[in-house]
Symmetry: C2
Subunit: 355 residues, 2 copies
């Protein structure tokens, strides 16, 4: 178990060593570690060495100059200048929030960025301003559209955070694939089988082989198969891709650059970097904030009281499991798998930073 503070300080120090300005290094560490706190272990410090390798490959600009390249009172398109998504996305969200302050809502599409950590962090940024926050991003292609055998879309997550009065906020944050790649990685490490409906083979057949992606297989969209609505998951992932990248001028679909540095970036790219889409809606742009929040509490209380299936403990509200995990890990520390520990030790040596 590693205390949050220890991993945070280490991560910030690594970003500093990479050349990030102190403010950016702190922000990037905060965003990255939020994943570990919330139990999304695949998106936290486990990825730190991946960011380092991308930087070593010259694919991350540690001193980006963000520019608004296009705007209206309620929108902006931001050029992330090849910066860390962990830094670019919070600044883009600040722009969305500032626009919402003025005209009710703000919507920012971002190009020329990199992986932004967990979508939920960025959506939650809006909560303290009594706004609904929305965050999505495209990502390296791993998911095959319905009827296809080709990886055309990322696991393209959507996060929506909604303010409340006394209840904890509603925070949905989910991949638009039937299972996020992180869940698969856990099965791979434990050498376990995957449930049917998560992955298909290179020929598009069902498989329970958690390593099938290495043999040309693909993840399946939310819904898993056409009968159970995979065309809906495919449509959702497509919407995320278009809002994040076709609106902004980033790369889309199969052209999204891979997160891993050992895979080459394709030639003749249609855009720059990867794309995000961030939104903020003032709740008092629709009705008085107290009124909204009281009803939101009522919504949550009613759903908590919904009849529970035999054998289950409770009906959960989006955000419940992650909040409980955060409380636990702030208290007891964050567990790391041994390959992740090894990764961090290597970073520690490479940069001369104490873990």
């Amino acid at each position: 178990m590693y205390p949050y503070r220890q991993l945070f300080d280490f991560t910030r120090e690594i970003f500093l060593q990479m050349g990030c300005p102190p403010k950016d290094a702190k922000l990037a560490a905060e965003v990255l570690l939020e994943a570990d706190l919330r139990g999304v272990d695949s998106h936290g410090v486990a990825r730190l060495s991946g960011y380092v390798r991308l930087w070593e490959a010259g694919r991350i600009n540690v001193t980006p100059k963000l520019r608004i390249v296009h705007e209206t009172p309620s929108t902006a398109t931001v050029d992330g200048d090849g910066g860390l998504g962990l830094v670019v996305a919070p600044l883009a969200m600040d722009i969305a929030i500032a626009k919402a302050e003025k005209v009710g809502t703000g919507w920012v599409s971002v190009k020329n960025s990199n992986h932004f950590g967990i979508a939920g962090y960025h959506a939650m940024e809006a909560l303290s301003s009594d706004m609904i926050g929305i965050a999505m991003t495209n990502a390296s292609p791993l998911v095959a559209p319905t009827h296809s055998t080709e990886r055309m879309l990322g696991t393209n997550p959507i996060a929506v955070a909604i303010p409340t009065q006394n209840q904890p906020p509603f925070v949905a944050d989910f991949a638009t694939a039937s299972a996020a790649n992180g869940k698969l990685e856990i099965l791979q490490r434990k050498e376990k089988k995957a449930p049917i409906g998560w992955i298909q083979t290179a020929e598009g057949e069902d498989t329970d082989n958690a390593n099938e992606l290495k043999d040309g297989g693909a993840l399946l969209p939310l819904g898993s198969d056409l009968t159970h609505g995979s065309h809906k998951g495919y449509a959702l992932a497509s919407i995320v891709d278009i809002f994040s990248a076709v609106l902004s001028g980033a790369n889309y679909g199969p052209w999204v650059p891979p997160f891993v540095s050992f895979l080459p970036v394709a030639d003749n790219l249609p855009g720059e970097g990867i794309g995000h889409f961030l939104g903020a809606m003032r709740i008092d742009a629709f009705r008085p904030a107290d009124e909204f929040k009281t009803h939101m509490d009522n919504w949550i209380e009613r759903f908590r009281k919904a009849k529970v299936k035999k054998g289950e403990k409770a009906v959960l509200i989006p955000g419940d499991p992650e909040r409980e995990m955060t409380e636990e890990r702030l208290k007891k520390g964050i567990p790391l798998l041994s390959p992740v520990e090894k990764d961090l030790e290597e970073l520690s040596k490479k940069f001369g930073v104490k873990l």
Copy 2:
């Protein structure tokens, strides 16, 4: 087979007989028939007698006076005055579009409305203004949250329409349940079994009984079970419910009034009528419109060329099947099931309107 024109004229005449002003009757008929054209048979003329019964029960105001009750430059909350959703939603979408013209995007939450037909119609309204259109609505509770046996959410659809240059537009329109209730109704009429993963029994067990909803069963969220991401479908349906109803002041969750007139409306409702959420985003609020549309064409062309699974014809773009169906039905006419024909004949007699 019924020619489109014949069903349109009949439907408009029925709305006129109910007392709708001529402009509203025409609009309502157009929205309703769009479902039949696009092959969403459950949401078209098959529902006409349902609207009539709601009107007879005093639950539809045929001469509503829409009011904006709250607004900012990019948002509005609309009171539908108990009108037909078929009429209220297009007017609310007009407001969203007008706001987008001025400040880049427009977002309208609607309360005190009724069933609005297919979401896709309303989203597509934005296309001719070179805007992305978004439409969602809550609906009578039929879907159980993950871990629950209680019907807490409607099949709460989401539609997103995106402009293109030479390609047909991208139009996604889907229920956030694993299968829409209309698909179940078709199985019921044909006395067929439902696939496992669409419905659960009153106790929350898997079932293939297409009539299970009559015995206290529930539809399942997109994803079907927790392993395959039903918590994501549950979150999506919840977001639609909150945007449509908690933002506007409509009824939400289990309190949404039933579409069928024979079910009572609950006491102590937390809001008024059902709710919708409509959005319009100018594409040139993010980048020059031509640039966006050229890349959108490229996106679509690339996805059409994605490798196809053996035994399948092609990778489809959201909106393809509905567009082909529309072309076919405008040419060959609209097929009606005999119970629907009987329904229309009864309406014909009741109102003295020739079918």
